[in-house]
């Protein structure tokens, strides 16, 4: 491997990515590159197409045109579960935890792509299966600990409050140690103190080598945390660059931030 040139491939790259719905183009020819490592933010007004872009990237929605590369491979036509196996994980804007399952089982589901035991192994209770299962439980507990829910591991997920369910989604996504983590509005429903804790959590996640791409409307959070920012408006990319430039960009201010927020951000 030593002679392979150290290519600086981006972890995720979309080109000309487009998704049309009857009567509107939700995502319109977006080129997005996310380098390996760090936190990258996707912001934009309500309805700009951020969630749709996430759905395209994670494979839940098929693109009308354009393509998506992940870790150097073209994944445009890959099913969502294949993408998860390649190391992509996500959370949802409208929370989707498995309500009837315990927190631990939710987290274990996140490890699903990493389990290799065959049906025979499972039924015969082969040592390899038991080792794998023990290992998985340990990993899942770590993931719950990461988000501060370890003590509630055996509770039903449906009984969690809104904010806690968001954290559980992050734990589920992180259990599988993904290369890329997509977070759709992780701070929604959290108060400023909790948001600060979330920032710390995301830093920890980045520290483990996972790249984070997030959508968020909390600008303090985004600006303090991100290494780069992409701004969408009406499905189109209107800005891409470091956060400091984004909050000064007149187009971004006009479309999204508004002068007050921009001023407050600048004042900090």
């Amino acid at each position: 491997m030593a002679d392979a040139a150290p290519r600086r491939v981006s972890l995720l790259a979309t080109s000309g990515l487009t998704r049309r719905y009857a009567g509107l183009v939700a995502v319109d020819g977006v080129d997005l590159t996310v380098p390996e490592g760090g936190v990258h933010a996707l912001i934009g007004p309500n309805g700009a197409g951020k969630t749709t872009l996430f759905n395209l990237v994670s494979g839940l929605v098929a693109p009308s045109s354009g393509n998506i590369r992940f870790a150097g491979a073209d994944i445009t036509r890959l099913a969502a579960d294949r993408r998860a196996r390649l190391g992509m994980a996500r959370t949802f804007q409208n929370i989707r935890v498995f309500g009837a399952m315990t927190l631990l089982e939710n987290a274990l589901t996140g490890l699903h792509p990493r389990l290799t035991s065959s049906l025979v192994g499972i039924v015969a209770r082969l040592p390899a299966f038991r080792r794998e299962e023990r290992h998985a439980v340990a990993r899942a507990r770590e993931a719950l600990a990461l988000v501060g829910l370890a003590s509630r591991a055996e509770e039903r997920a449906a009984a969690l409050s809104y904010g806690d369910q968001r954290r559980l989604e992050i734990a589920r996504a992180m259990a599988g140690a993904p290369r890329l983590l997509l977070l759709d509005e992780p701070a929604a429903g959290m108060n400023p103190a909790e948001t600060v804790a979330l920032s710390a959590l995301i830093r920890t996640i980045v520290g483990t080598g996972t790249t984070v791409l997030l959508v968020e409307h909390d600008m303090h959070f985004v600006m303090n945390l991100s290494d780069s920012v992409t701004v969408l408006n009406f499905g189109r990319r209107i800005f891409s660059g470091p956060p400091a430039e984004a909050r000064a960009d007149p187009g971004v201010i006009e479309a999204y931030l508004g002068t007050k927020v921009a001023a407050r951000l600048a004042g900090r």
């Binding site: 309500n46 904010g163 108060n191 409307h217």
Partner: protein, 234 residues
């Protein structure tokens, strides 16, 4: 206008709200702040009749409404914008608005409310014939608020109305709250955006694991060092 006395609510064996007292006077904006899981949503759901309280009284306009069915409570002018929006995904935006005005008989009044809602949220006007389920998260939040405004509420219960909204819209939402207040609408506001909430509110209550730990005029609560540390990201 609204008095809550010794309210206790439980899910099975766990008590999520333990004997709280609250009161909301005519024309006031009262805010309820607290960490995730403190019981804010539980309180609002109980006020609207979606959950039966285990103990305590809920007095609206001098009448105990604890245990009353939700549609009757709504008909009395206490209207809620629920957490997580709860818009009718399979109906169109326009249809969602019509349903918001369900308690409002009279086509002219409905039309007037609708115009004013669409005036506030032009984005909804563009999406009128679209299925609400296909709206973006923020658009859904606008719809949820707009839907509640269709009912001409006297007392509006808002559960995290700014959640998922772009900064420009959050400003808009708080402006609307201020406007509604000016129009004489009484508001009980649950918010994570505590600084903005404390700014519009007259009275604030801090909720911790089902108990009220601090109450008072919003300005005083906002100045409390513990609150600053815990909720204002100070």
């Amino acid at each position: 206008m609204l008095q809550v006395i010794g309210l206790t609510v439980a899910y099975g064996r766990t008590e999520a709200v333990r004997g709280i007292d609250l009161s909301v006077a005519q024309g006031q904006v009262v805010t309820l702040i607290g960490a995730n899981g403190a019981g804010k949503t539980t309180i609002l759901r109980t006020l609207s009749g979606l959950i039966r309280p285990r103990a305590g009284r809920i007095v609206l306009d001098g009448q105990d409404i604890a245990g009353m069915r939700p549609h009757r409570i709504a008909a009395r002018g206490m209207v809620q914008v629920p957490e997580g929006r709860q818009i009718f995904a399979s109906l169109t935006v326009a249809e969602n608005l019509v349903l918001g005005g369900w308690t409002q008989r009279g086509a002219a009044e409905t039309q007037r409310r609708r115009d004013s809602v669409l005036g506030r949220f032009p984005r909804l006007r563009e999406r009128l014939t679209q299925n609400a389920g296909a709206l973006s998260g923020g658009e859904q939040q606008m719809l949820a608020i707009g839907r509640a405004l269709m009912a001409t509420p006297r007392l509006l219960l808002l559960d995290e109305p700014s959640m998922g909204l772009a900064p420009l819209f959050i400003e808009e939402i708080f402006a609307i709250i201020a406007e509604l207040k000016a129009d004489g609408v009484t508001i009980l506001l649950v918010e994570q955006n505590a600084s903005a909430a404390l700014e519009v509110a007259d009275i604030a209550h801090v909720l911790e694991v089902g108990r009220v730990t601090l109450s008072g005029p919003a300005a005083r609560v906002a100045a409390d060092p513990a609150v600053v540390a815990a909720y204002l990201g100070g």
